[in-house]
Assembly symmetry: C3
């Protein structure tokens, strides 16, 4: 299908972009070149891997397509040499990161739908695909995951998943439901970045123990 091909191209663009932004996080922790390559691959491919391990779905994407491992590690490594110019491209990378979020989400939903999972799990599968790579990156950099505190990141993923399922349920053509879900999620994420929207935070200072 044509929409499948577009999704696949967007997936490649997204894993490259995720690997490159992860490389900058590695640089902030002074990792060595191989560490940069590994953190890039883990961030780009980790969300899908955790999803497939939890669903018991084998082989994992990068085991079936080892080139994804080489492409993401290579993109992260290349970032070492072009990092000085990345600042000028920061809007592009924030945009591609947002594209990655909705693309990973829709792919994660598709995989759970193909396995006949209930809707709650389909949305969870989309969110794990979209968000867990960044959580792994933050854990490996020993930072409290941004996901749990950031600008509507997981919210966008849940909303896109719900719209995607809702659109299909309402009888929309598959490609249209997918397009609406992805564009709405993308718009919300970009607006959140632009205007600094975020979820209310829960601040608790007492110790229970």
């Amino acid at each position: 299908m044509q929409s499948e091909q577009i999704l696949n191209v967007l997936y490649i663009v997204a894993i490259v972009a995720e690997a490159m932004t992860a490389a900058l996080a590695a640089g902030r922790r002074s990792m060595d070149w191989l560490g940069v390559a590994m953190l890039g691959a883990i961030t780009a491919l980790g969300g899908g891997s955790v999803r497939d391990v939890l669903l018991g779905r084998h082989p994992l994407t990068w085991i079936e397509h080892p080139s994804y491992l080489l492409v993401t590690a290579g993109a992260a490594l290349a970032t070492v040499f072009i990092a000085r110019y990345m600042h000028h491209l920061r809007h592009l990378f924030l945009f591609l990161d947002a594209v990655g979020l909705v693309v990973f989400t829709v792919i994660g939903c598709n995989i759970a739908l193909a396995l006949g999972m209930p809707y709650v799990i389909v949305i969870a599968s989309g969110m794990i695909s979209g968000c867990v790579g960044g959580v792994l990156r933050d854990i490996l950099c020993t930072e409290v995951p941004l996901l749990f505190r950031a600008e509507l990141y997981a919210t966008v993923s849940i909303l896109a998943g719900a719209l995607y399922i809702g659109g299909q349920y309402a009888g929309l053509p598959h490609a249209l439901a997918m397009g609406i879900a992805m564009l709405t999620g993308l718009a919300l994420r970009l607006l959140a970045l632009r205007y600094g929207w975020s979820m209310p935070k829960f601040v608790y200072t007492e110790k229970l123990h």
Copy 2:
């Protein structure tokens, strides 16, 4: 079986309690509302998920019962609004946390027994079920896991697992072996909390490298 039904009710109570105490940990890290919900679900359901992934047992509990995902995320979220009253209930929550520890342990043992695993793995399965949720919570909050330093937490889990297996091996009725293991574990955990009992610590200050 009746003892199975009691175990199931206790399991629901325990995952709700674990999700609610995890929500307080999320609040101490100023996570947003969705982060609170996610940390609650991961803490409550993560131990069983890691156990099942290691045992190669699918589908995972929350994939088979998606309502558990909603219940734990919802309980964590509700905690945001009742946190100010939680301090008065701290003894109740410490008690429910201890109940959760022994309930998760016995369920983990049951699952490994049903797979025909050797006793060492049965006890390990109980301990992973009982303790790993809290380890995931602490990693996601970037704290050295309390498990590795806390009041007999893992010890209680190993002891309860060993008593449970020992009781069955000695020919006790299943429900009696389970009851003895859970009550002994619960008593030890509560006494450890009350009197500050803990394992000796290993303190080492040199660098090997």
Copy 3:
């Protein structure tokens, strides 16, 4: 095969050595005795476990051989009592750690080869087996994993894996290809330790967001 038996003996030596050095890391975080035992077992057996979970290969090594769990936990615990003498043995332990790295790597490659995986995945499988145990240890101690910053650790693993595959591809006898890969990797690791060789680091200080 004789080379298989040698590899198996080296594997036992290596998991014991990894568990003992992990115990020292646990001591630097003042973990309790059970925490020491757990961190030892997780460090020694975690790399192979992650590899098998990602490959969808069950049962995991320590579930098939529960004695490995007891041996590594016991070795870590014993370290509590002999830690004061470990400093005199630090060269031995650094040597055994290097042996472990190449032994785990070759075993990881063998497992992926037996599953008919492509070469990129064979090398990745070797590296995951060799390096991930230490990553788990560092995460549980809330340190940025040494792997991403250390003296050619992952590099040695990739090189040994590539030499092993290359040797077999070139038609060398299996044991010879294995011996060359392991001895070259060992030599490189020891030279890196001796002369402080390391990969260039990527240092980046700007925030993309």
